[in-house]
């Protein structure tokens, strides 16, 4: 039996029945990573010794009979989520040698369950990108076609789950960074509501968008991990404990009948690669009794420009901390200012510099009202579009991306890269939860993802509907 093929639920069953030990499970993954990651480059660092130590502890816990659904389950963590004692590079030269002095709250929660942390995964530098090509440590390859990108910025995590280098992985999603790579790699990617999961220990990119989320082999797995890592955290004042009534909890295909699915026309305009597959998926849901309701989110076309003002603005403030004084790369300068300039010049890659420049421009005197403030007002309108739509529908379904995975080096122009987030950014502007699930593939056998968007804090509803879809 190939242990690495198992999802969380299956691995848990095997561990519980003593078919194999947590140690054997961890070894299977570590050996596979060692043998095969040269061609994928999903990992930036692997903690073999630490993982095996955790596996031994997990085995003791299993023997003592107090295991949970995640005890002994091996995971991979995006390299912008702090794991105490491990490097946290964010895919950047400026943090190349930075060792995390503490763990993120999500990591503490996973460790409490006895999860095994195999290593840290590759990403676009500071999560800025949609392909992992912006990593300072080389691109990750799409396991379905090594000439193509895995998506980004959580490309390493998505590729690791796809290649069975881990049972599940954590990522972060600021403008689509979990859903887009999940779609390109053919795995399940959940971006929770802004505030549903603590961001303590997640390296900040754009603080009003950033959210930690989950990449898994199945929807059930996503639900198990979400239940573990979500909730209020005293260390993150933007985290929340909101448990809305789960009107869809326990739904089965038999009662998809009253489900109202909003289909926003703005996401289906013109001809694009993934359209037909998504429309066929919608038919399947309709055949089960769900009602497809045409809706409009009229400000959709302004989402991407608003995002590319607000996110870089927040980033320019967040990244000012990398000045060579407190931690990270530190270049000697003639004076204090010269040291800042040299540290950032050497430490940051092109895309990070670009975004700092855009953000600084949008926030600078004379341009603040015209760019930043205007974009924040447009954000209000985009959010209002969703609020209005959700008055008459339960969920909204769209394609996750207009195309399947593109080729490495294909999108050299920054703007064309930004456009790959076109179907995912609105959700971040509005702070909503959304999941991408694989629903088919192109003629070239590249995966296609479908995005289900829910009302705030209704993760369980979109997860349940995704489960029903998979059981059709």
């Amino acid at each position: 039996m190939d242990l690495t093929k198992l999802n969380i639920k299956e691995a848990h069953k095997g561990l519980k029945n003593k078919d194999f030990s947590a140690f054997e499970l961890a070894i299977a993954y570590l050996d596979k990573i060692e043998k095969e990651d040269d061609r994928i480059n999903a990992f930036l660092s692997v903690d073999r010794e630490g993982a095996l130590g955790q596996a031994r502890e997990a085995d003791k816990r299993i023997l003592s009979g107090n295991m949970t659904a995640l005890t002994g389950i091996p995971t991979a963590i995006k390299d912008n989520i702090l794991v105490k004692g491990l490097k946290n590079t964010c895919g950047s030269k400026i943090l190349e040698n930075y060792i995390a002095p503490y763990s993120a709250t999500v990591i503490e929660k996973l460790k409490e369950e006895g999860v095994i942390i195999l290593g840290k995964t590759n990403m676009d530098e500071f999560a800025m990108g949609s392909s992992t090509e912006n990593s300072a440590f080389g691109v990750t390859k799409n396991p379905h076609d090594l000439e193509r990108v895995p998506g980004g910025s959580s490309g390493g995590s998505a590729a690791a789950v796809t290649t069975d280098f881990c049972c599940f992985a954590l990522g972060s999603d600021t403008g689509g960074s979990i859903r887009q790579p999940a779609s390109f790699c053919g795995v399940v990617g959940l971006k929770p509501t802004y505030g549903a999961v603590s961001r303590y220990g997640l390296t900040a990119f754009a603080s009003s968008f950033d959210q930690i989320g989950i990449l898994t082999k199945s929807v059930e797995d996503s639900q198990i991990v979400f239940e573990t890592i979500s909730g209020l955290d005293s260390k993150d004042s933007t985290s929340a404990e909101v448990r809305p009534p789960q009107s869809c909890g326990g739904r089965t295909s038999a009662n998809l009948k009253n489900l109202r699915i909003g289909i926003p026309k703005e996401y289906f305009e013109g001809d694009f690669e993934t359209k037909k597959t998504i429309q066929e998926s919608l038919k399947l849901l309709q055949n089960q009794g769900a009602k497809l309701i045409d809706i409009s989110l009229p400000n959709t076309k302004y989402a991407l420009p608003a995002y590319y003002i607000i996110a870089p603005s927040e980033a320019s403030a967040n990244l000012s901390r990398y000045d060579g004084i407190k931690f990270g790369l530190s270049e000697e300068g003639e004076d204090l200012l010269d040291g800042y300039l040299k540290t950032k010049e050497k430490g940051f890659g092109d895309e990070v510099k670009r975004r700092i420049m855009i953000g600084t421009y949008a926030l600078s005197s004379g341009y603040y009202d015209a760019y930043y403030l205007r974009a924040q007002k447009v954000r209000t309108l985009i959010k209002a579009d969703f609020d209005k739509a959700f008055e008459k529908v339960d969920i909204i379904i769209t394609p996750t991306t207009p195309t399947s995975a593109f080729k490495i080096g294909e999108k050299m122009d920054p703007l064309s890269m930004y456009l790959s987030d076109i179907f995912t950014v609105s959700v971040n502007l509005a702070g909503l939860p959304a999941i991408s699930i694989p629903v088919g593939s192109t003629e070239a056998k590249l995966p296609i993802g479908l995005q289900i968007i829910g009302k705030p804090f209704e993760e369980n509803k979109i997860l349940n509907i995704a489960k029903i879809y998979n059981n059709i």
Partner: protein
């Protein structure tokens, strides 16, 4: 197209060192992004309030806690990350000459 002086001015505000060749690339890239985001000028935002927190309605009051020190060890670990340390202080170049 934004001017080269503007690129230099923004880089200065951002405390970001850029080379001459980067300056040319940034001038082009920034101009194309700014052209694109100018699409926002078509939106009527006259009576619209800005959104700074996407889930503000779930956060009706400020989040505060008692001012009690917690983990002492973390402070020492953070100090260890500083590139130049003298005792428990970070060392920087003089600011005033």
């Amino acid at each position: 197209m934004i001017k080269k002086e503007d690129v230099r001015h923004i880089a200065k505000l951002a405390r970001l060192g850029i080379s001459i060749s980067e300056e040319v690339g940034l001038q082009k890239d920034l101009s194309s992004v700014l052209d694109y985001v100018n699409l926002l000028n078509k939106v009527d935002v006259s009576d619209v309030e800005p959104t700074y927190h996407p889930m503000a309605k779930f956060f009706k009051k400020n989040i505060i806690r008692e001012d009690i020190g917690e983990d002492q060890q973390i402070a020492d670990d953070l100090i260890k990350l500083m590139p130049q340390i003298e005792e428990r202080h970070t060392k920087v170049k003089s600011i005033l000459n």
